[in-house]
């Protein structure tokens, strides 16, 4: 990354991305620390290492734009605007959670910020995202929709069907594939006999970004989102990235096929190096930002802890 990148990003967005990524990272690290204590009785799929994808993308989205998520929800939901408190309270199973304690980690909801829900059955939410785009078209609205999914979700037939539907009906939807190269412990080469972008290119224009580099995502997502808005037709964006943690839970990944270099693979370290080099931020400011975010997380945890559990008599919602 050189300072030439400066031309392509506005400094406010760089800061916004850094903040977004740090919120997701620090939040995830805190979850990982707390998880063994069982205060969160829900399966967590952490996004550590993958934060740049949603952070870069969401710089280009408005609250009106809809985003449909799968099971790995935290970073993209926070990037889209879900308040920390609401996410934390949901993980804690409290009524103040974004889904009122009914959803858990895989089911986040915040329509004010364009999050109509998420799903833990891999693949299907791609189609739901296309439906949001259909709404936009039929109601003559401006918003666009994002179907946000992992590499292995492209195995599912609904991926093919959804691309076909969106392309046939010319719907304003961005297919965002966050390709971390893994489906649980299975490498992408064992679950996909195809190039994801190659298949997608049979249906719509395709962009690709380096998902460990926030600036690359920012740039390509910018183009992709602009194209969806302008053409009101589907566009595909694949961001390759790396998953640092195990598929689920609080432990570091230990797959031999998934080596992580905490310096070059870290989207936050990379963006910080760039921003420091470009004089957009100082190490001291970063420290202050980190602290500020820690305080927000403290607040979210405190909020969650003092929020009530749901009453058992409301089991039938």
């Amino acid at each position: 990354m050189s300072t030439a990148e400066l031309d392509t990003i506005n400094p406010a967005d760089a800061l916004r991305m850094l903040r977004t990524m740090r919120v997701a990272r620090q939040m995830s690290q805190r979850i990982a620390k707390l998880y063994p204590t069982d205060v969160m009785e829900t399966p967590v799929h952490l996004c550590i290492g993958q934060e740049a994808v949603s952070a870069g993308l969401c710089c280009h989205l408005t609250d009106a734009d809809q985003m449909l998520l799968g099971h790995r929800t935290h970073a993209p939901a926070l990037a889209k605007g879900l308040p920390l408190r609401k996410l934390m309270a949901e993980l804690y199973g409290r009524t103040t959670g974004c889904s009122h304690a009914r959803g858990g980690s895989m089911h986040v909801f915040d329509p004010e910020h364009g999050l109509p829900g998420s799903s833990a059955i891999v693949g299907g939410s791609i189609a739901v995202g296309v439906g949001a785009a259909l709404s936009s078209k039929l109601s003559g609205s401006d918003f666009i929709s994002v179907s946000y999914f992992g590499d292995a979700a492209t195995n599912a037939g609904v991926f093919h069907e959804s691309m076909n539907f969106a392309a046939l009906k010319q719907l304003p939807v961005l297919f965002l594939c966050e390709n971390n190269g893994l489906s649980n412990v299975m490498p992408v080469a064992e679950h996909a006999a195809y190039e994801i972008a190659g298949v997608a290119s049979q249906f719509m224009p395709v962009f690709r970004a380096d998902g460990t580099d926030a600036l690359s995502v920012y740039r390509e997502a910018g183009k992709a989102v602009r194209q969806v808005r302008e053409t009101r037709a589907p566009v595909f964006l694949e961001c390759t990235t790396k998953r640092w943690m195990k598929h689920q839970g609080h432990e570091r990944d230990d797959l031999e096929i998934n080596p992580i270099d905490p310096v070059t693979d870290c989207p936050i370290a990379r963006l910080e190096r760039f921003m420091i080099g470009a004089s957009l931020i100082t190490p001291r400011e970063i420290l202050a930002l980190a602290k500020e975010i820690e305080a927000e997380i403290d607040d979210a945890i405190e909020f969650a802890e003092r929020s009530p559990y749901p009453q058992p008599e409301f089991v039938e919602a």
Binding site: Q66, L68, S99, H100, A101, R102, G103, H107, F109, P111, P116, G117, S119, I121, G124, S125, I126, A127, V128, G129, V130, G131, A132, A133, L134, S135, S136, L138, S139, S145, G157, V158, E161, S162, N164, F165, L168, K169, A317
Partner: protein, 338 residues
């Protein structure tokens, strides 16, 4: 398939204006689409010249009728996404057998979305589907799958038997803010009956008495209700015939009220015999009105087998007004009702 050759012997009492079942569905859909620009329809062949067996032809707003590819699963997800973001889709499947292709979306997504988010969102999604039967269509095109979907919390299930109910229930379904599935038996499509021109709704969960009697309560759904009615009328059976109209929620008050009177229960539901709607109704009556029952309850449904293709096997497979009538006569004898 010369469906036209299956004509029904059901004629509803004359009313202001008679309409065929299929036209009642068409009229409800058209009126709802005219009334509310958020209402739209989609499905395989929904926009073609056959218009879903006529139920979608000559609509006022063709621009809100979308044909789809053969991708029932994605189609359902798309409809859900549209429902979540302000639209009111009517998703149509030409055969309810195709719903199985979309089962993940229907059961894991549509049925659960509201409860996963504690009802913070509306899911105003109507899923119409048509039950086929006969003409050697075979096992994959002749199922009646209401029993499967009735099991799933989060889905309402309606099954109109008359043109009046078809219009009123469909409008209720469209008006509802939660997912509603409507199963329409293809053999009812040409039946006619009185249907008011204005829009009206029938509360979901309200059954009706189609025939009055005191010796036996028969609870029957959809075409089975019409077949039982035919049997009652042709044979003068002393039967209290309850058509629940809505499978879920179920009008247990009406059923229990009738059983209290007759002391006997027969459920006729055209579906596989294991579990399902007939088993649920039978169980609830036994649980809730055990002391009123004077004899063991009975059920009529399909045999424990998939649908065969050949005519003689098909005719043996499906209950008919005659087999229903004979079964009832064997049970309660022939008495002319009051």
């Amino acid at each position: 398939m010369p469906w036209s050759r299956f004509d029904s012997n059901y004629r509803a009492p004359a009313g202001e204006r008679d309409l065929a079942f299929v036209d009642a569905i068409r009229e409800a859909t058209d009126q709802a689409m005219c009334l509310d620009p958020r209402v739209f329809a989609m499905g395989l062949d929904a926009d073609d010249k056959f218009g879903v067996f006529g139920s979608m032809r000559d609509m006022t707003h063709p621009e809100r009728i979308l044909g789809t590819p053969i991708s029932e699963n994605a189609n359902t997800g798309v409809a859900l996404g549209a429902a979540l973001t302000g639209m009111r889709p009517i998703l149509i499947n030409l055969r309810n057998d195709f719903l199985l292709v979309a089962m993940d979306q229907i059961v894991n997504y549509v049925a659960k979305w509201q409860s996963m988010f504690d009802g913070q969102c509306a899911v105003p999604l109507v899923m119409r589907s048509v039950i086929g039967r006969g003409w050697g269509c075979g096992a994959q095109h002749s199922q009646s799958l209401q029993g499967l979907f009735a099991q799933i919390p989060g889905l309402k299930v309606v099954m109109p038997a008359t043109p009046y109910d078809a219009k009123g229930l469909l409008l209720s379904a469209i008006k509802d803010d939660s997912p509603v599935m409507m199963f329409e038996h293809r053999w009812l499509y040409k039946n006619t009956g009185p249907v008011p021109e204005e829009m009206y709704t029938i509360p979901l969960g309200q059954g009706q008495r189609l025939h009055e009697g005191s010796s036996l309560t028969v609870v029957a759904t959809s075409l089975a209700a019409i077949h039982t009615l035919t049997a009652c009328e042709q044979r003068g059976l002393d039967v209290d015939l309850i058509d629940p109209r809505t499978i879920k929620p179920l009008d247990m008050d009406l059923i229990l009220d009738s059983v209290s009177k007759t002391g006997r229960l027969l459920v006729v539901d055209y579906d596989f015999p294991f579990g399902g709607v007939a088993a649920e109704i039978t169980s609830r009556v036994c649980e809730q009105a055990f002391d009123r029952l004077r004899e063991p309850p009975q059920r009529i449904g399909f045999p424990e087998a998939n649908m065969p293709a050949s005519g003689p096997l098909e005719r043996a497979y499906y209950p008919t007004p005659d087999t229903i009538g004979e079964r009832i006569e064997r049970w309660i004898g022939v008495e002319v009702c009051a």
